[in-house]
Symmetry: C3
Subunit: 278 residues, 3 copies
């Protein structure tokens, strides 16, 4: 229980991340602090939620994931600890853990209230209200990594804030209307359509398909354009808009060696259709 | 004594930081190397000085902070080690440790001259003159982390270079003229006015104020605009220019969910007034 | 053998690097994962090759360097492990290790085929084809760091892919025509002319030169402009285009406190001439 990951919108130019690392190491010098990303778009809770979902399953049991995209810091939004399936998550109760609530069978959520585990800079007389990454989330994670029982940090709560994540919907027989939920560095457009939707809809894979995704029997459409379905990026001709099932199990639009976001002028929220071919 | 932090203007795309980490680990494989920031604006010694000030107090005693914003590398500027209050700082003598000299009661400053603790790449015959981050500061930090006595690295010196940091000045009774000294990723404007200025001026907090900052009795003005004083970011209405006392004890101008730098077209050096209300 | 470095074009905003780190730590919680750079220009194999060359020599023996700039992921390009001079390199066989083949006397190259050392996410039934950084390179590096014999990962191969790196050529007596091979964060232009070219051409240094580079007896020309030769950056007058022998032994064009790339509108591939003065 000594790996602590950090995912924030603090960027790389300032002192925010550094002071969080300092607070962790001051409490537990043996903690291994691992950067996931500090380039989450400022205030974008949904993007942070996707990053957490996409990275936590690969870490060993007992890893503590600190997530600080926290525009409501200082307000009445609650600081929380989420525990489930052997992983721990520490951050604001603003929906950033929505996917965890969906994916993990049993979660326990603690409202962080025990000030004895918070950090109060020497020159302040009370808990600050502008930087809970440093003053609440980092120290709680560090104490947790030293074996403090989660229930020592506060009381269990049952109704955390959840993002209303757009779920794809079946608009007509065999056509799924999804949305772009995330755009990565390469301009790839990640949708909320996953490999679980087609089996659920009883669309069995054809002989030349893997059992993971109906590559030849489904037609993907973005902004009126039908996309070629591929298994990997280099299969696409340069400049050709394509789609594949990505490494997190989501349908993703890409252009090999290009940038789909720019070519399609695409934004998070844009619809993507996946239609079963007749 | 085995945590070594790095703060540089080397950015994230090149090999500079990687080779510094390699040199550290080659000398002390047990050192824990922690990135503070490598996105200091190129050659901006004042910005680096602020980052060091804002992050070092949170690290455990014995931590070694390596700071390399070093436009004078190879010239006569001295490489130094600064020791004080249980922290160590290694970098160029160009003013980057100015805040440390202000804040730490007793510092000892060593001019790094013992070449036996420097790193000379195999293909060179003498110390290089273009990359002291790799060839002086990283190896000295690594040897220090192994317990080498600071005085082994060179002679003590007494007159380090200091930045003439603009101090706020009282322009008329009860009005403090400060300046923007740093702008962070969110476009927040950090000033040199701190929570120590008002108590020093005998402006006691009113009943509804914390004892840290006279929120209701002071008026903050930037470019002719009076700013609302808040305790935390989410208190500001979206789009409304506000100010608060930030997590490092500095008066800071912000716009909740917005960008004060862009809205005010503000730059480092711009004046900010804080006037006691009548 | 427990330091693992990462060099990728995955950037800092996404989950890619985080999930690689997770996979490493899941297999070997004692590995020390060190970021070299994740800001390699997307798909730019040559830039990654230069970064690896410029950083690996500074790490301790036994360090494992994972390099993932891999536009061909999923295609027939081979995943490989390169071993030489006590260092290990793991990545795609796309030329990213070209400099290693040039510099290291004896390399052993293994084609990674043993799926038992790969990572297959629980929800997949077979190796994925879109993210070998997470599914092949990270786990192989982690297993290697635990002492697995390189030959367990696959068969030795002898003809790896190499980049046809432009070598400088002597265009007339005493004039070397080189090219810009890399541009760093500061806009410095790194060429393929190294300190080994002049001794090889029997141009002995003059009395006031170091034995590393004929500073006074060579004239460097970029886009028709003759550059002043210097030993370190601060020797250049602000705005004055200069050249020096950089910290990796390459001839580099720079402008002190400025940006040579912008001033010269320079690009990778542009010619740079170095002429022996008469």
């Amino acid at each position: 229980m000594s790996i602590i990951t950090l995912t924030t919108d603090f960027g790389y130019k300032d002192y925010f991340v550094g002071s969080m690392k300092g607070v962790v190491l001051r409490i537990n010098p043996h903690a291994q602090v691992i950067d996931i990303s500090h380039e989450v778009e400022p205030y974008n809770v949904a993007a942070a939620a996707y990053l957490v979902k996409a990275s936590y399953p690969y870490f060993p049991e007992g890893t503590i994931h600190v997530v600080v995209v926290d525009p409501g810091v200082g307000s009445t939004r609650r600081p929380i600890l989420v525990e489930g399936d052997g992983s721990y998550f520490v951050g604001p109760d603003n929906g950033v853990f929505t996917y965890i609530y969906q994916e993990v069978k049993r979660v326990r959520i603690i409202h962080l209230t025990s000030q004895e585990y918070f950090f109060i800079p020497a020159w302040q007389k009370a808990l600050g209200s502008t930087f809970h990454g440093r003053d609440i989330f980092a120290p709680v994670a560090a104490w947790l990594s030293k074996g403090i029982d989660p229930l020592k940090f506060g009381e269990e709560i049952r109704e955390p804030v959840k993002l209303s994540l757009a779920e794809p919907r079946w608009v007509e027989d065999g056509t799924l209307e999804g949305r772009i939920i995330y755009i990565d560095r390469f301009g790839n457009l990640i949708t909320n359509i996953t490999r679980t939707h087609y089996p659920a809809a009883n669309v069995p894979p054809k002989a030349d398909e893997t059992d993971q995704w109906p590559v030849t029997s489904v037609k993907v459409i973005l902004k009126g354009k039908v996309l070629a379905l591929k298994h990997f990026y280099a299969e696409g001709k340069p400049g050709e808009p394509c789609a594949l099932m990505n490494s997190c199990g989501h349908l993703e639009v890409f252009i090999n060696l290009g940038n789909a976001q720019q070519q399609f002028q695409a934004s998070v929220g844009d619809p993507v259709m996946a239609r079963v071919k007749e």
